[in-house]
Symmetry: C2
Subunit: 284 residues, 2 copies
């Protein structure tokens, strides 16, 4: 039986998955996070399915080698194209962000008209549509790829930025015309552009951040498998309390740990961020 | 002795290097091109030096395995951070785009104030400054990284686009204030944004496209090493003329050959584009 006190493995193509980590820390403060950001090979959104599957498999092997008890694919693209294959390849419980995001959107909508924005690969996969239809066959889904949103977020042009607003207007015009009342932020970077997106689509459209629902599903999953960590709060460093080793968050990236840290500090408290560089190509 | 009729190996992180191929085909119509675009790992501009060096070495090994007689690094980032190491690692003649671009700019400037735009890695390396100072110690160089230009070019928002123009104004304002009279397009994607950039900096600033000068230097190099192909025109397919096998252009990518082809067709005649997918990670 798996040790409950080992960490939850979380990965993303880069830094965006930290918006999911933030929600997990909020809802499951006793869990330690083992994070891998594939900063050497970011972005995944314009890569083929085959390539994203191969990268995901390498990363999960790495996270398992570090003792992860469960895996969260905190990247919409990898969730969209690789989750099912990863579930077949590995025995450990694995969840993605797409199904929780779709469920949340299906609950929120009143008029049944839902927009989904994401990377090219996520939108091309049609997977949000698939899960939304499964939850409620009466919804209509409008997808739109927004390839510039990730580089804009990484440039830090996020709050009240005129250029970002214009880009958002261009991308979102056709969704607005469809009279949607719900919009899924189908890429983990997009919550960083939340205020601009909300301004452009207007207050009547409810934004859905799949990260929130993913953390909730993760909690159910850990309870069900009796894998919840009983520690009260995961520590910033390894420490022994009452004879028990408290769990610690750990962050790994495939390139440029310093840059990751700078950007990550806008999402998580910087005190816990001490990222290390590691290559995962050997985990074939 | 090397066979003159074998191709010139050219590589880039993706599709941008085709602007260099276009110049080589113009100036050296008898040469066959063997192109590799690293579309699975694009972009290079935000990666570490170590990673770009490793990728460059893998790709050169691949190009040599296909019989290349010389190598052109048609990527400013890889030229900036990996050229010297590649020259030490391999015996075949290798040229990059930075030194030719710097020489051209040093010739063009009248007031000695030169701007350079490129990826974060190219600008951080300071290499244009180094080569420009070597050619003419009296020039002053102003560098500016423009990370959104590549995704904007790949989105196809290139001609008379209001958003691209605003992004260009934001990036280039500080260079314009420095009274530059010459601006080096230090990334192979940027010639695609040429008209917007020219509009923003004004007609008094001369744009330098390193691709033109690189093709010229390549010609000198091949003449000097007696490696010029004596064929009149490289063919679109292998063909025998007068008992000789005419050389043929070949294109390889590490991911999504179809997408590469679509974008490439805006740079080169689509008839010659039949890209094949190939992995190069094994060439360690």
């Amino acid at each position: 039986m798996k040790n409950k006190n080992v960490p939850i493995g979380v990965f993303d193509s880069g830094v965006g998955g930290l918006t999911v980590v933030r929600e997990i820390m909020e809802q499951l403060p006793g869990e330690a996070i083992l994070y891998f950001g594939d900063t050497a090979r970011v972005p995944y959104g314009n890569k083929s399915e085959e390539t994203v599957v191969r990268y995901s498999s390498q990363i999960i092997k790495f996270l398992l080698s570090k003792g992860a008890k469960t895996i969260v694919i905190a990247c919409n693209t990898a969730s969209a194209v690789a989750l099912e294959k990863m579930k077949k390849e590995f025995e450990v419980p694995i969840i993605g962000v797409v199904e929780p995001g779709a469920k949340a959107a299906a609950k929120v909508t009143r008029n049944g008209r839902i927009g989904v924005i994401g990377t090219e690969a996520t939108i091309r996969s049609g997977i949000y549509n698939e899960f939304l239809q499964k939850t409620n066959p009466h919804v209509t889904v409008y997808g739109k790829a927004c390839p510039l949103f990730v580089p804009l977020a990484e440039e830090g042009w996020v709050e009240e930025d005129e250029i970002t607003e214009q880009v958002a207007r261009r991308y979102l015009a056709e969704l607005s015309e469809q009279d949607i009342d719900t919009l899924v932020l189908g890429c983990t970077h997009y919550p960083l552009l939340r205020s601009v997106i909300q301004k452009v689509v207007g207050d009547k459209v409810q934004l859905v951040n799949p990260a929130v629902e993913t953390a909730r599903e993760l909690k159910y999953l850990l309870e069900e498998r009796r894998l919840l960590n009983e520690c009260e709060k995961a520590g910033e460093t390894y420490a022994v309390a009452g004879g028990t080793l408290l769990p610690q968050h750990e962050f790994f990236v495939s390139d440029r740990a310093e840059k990751f840290k700078q950007f990550a500090a806008s999402i998580l408290p910087s005190a816990i961020l001490r990222p290390e560089s590691v290559g995962v190509e050997k985990f074939e």
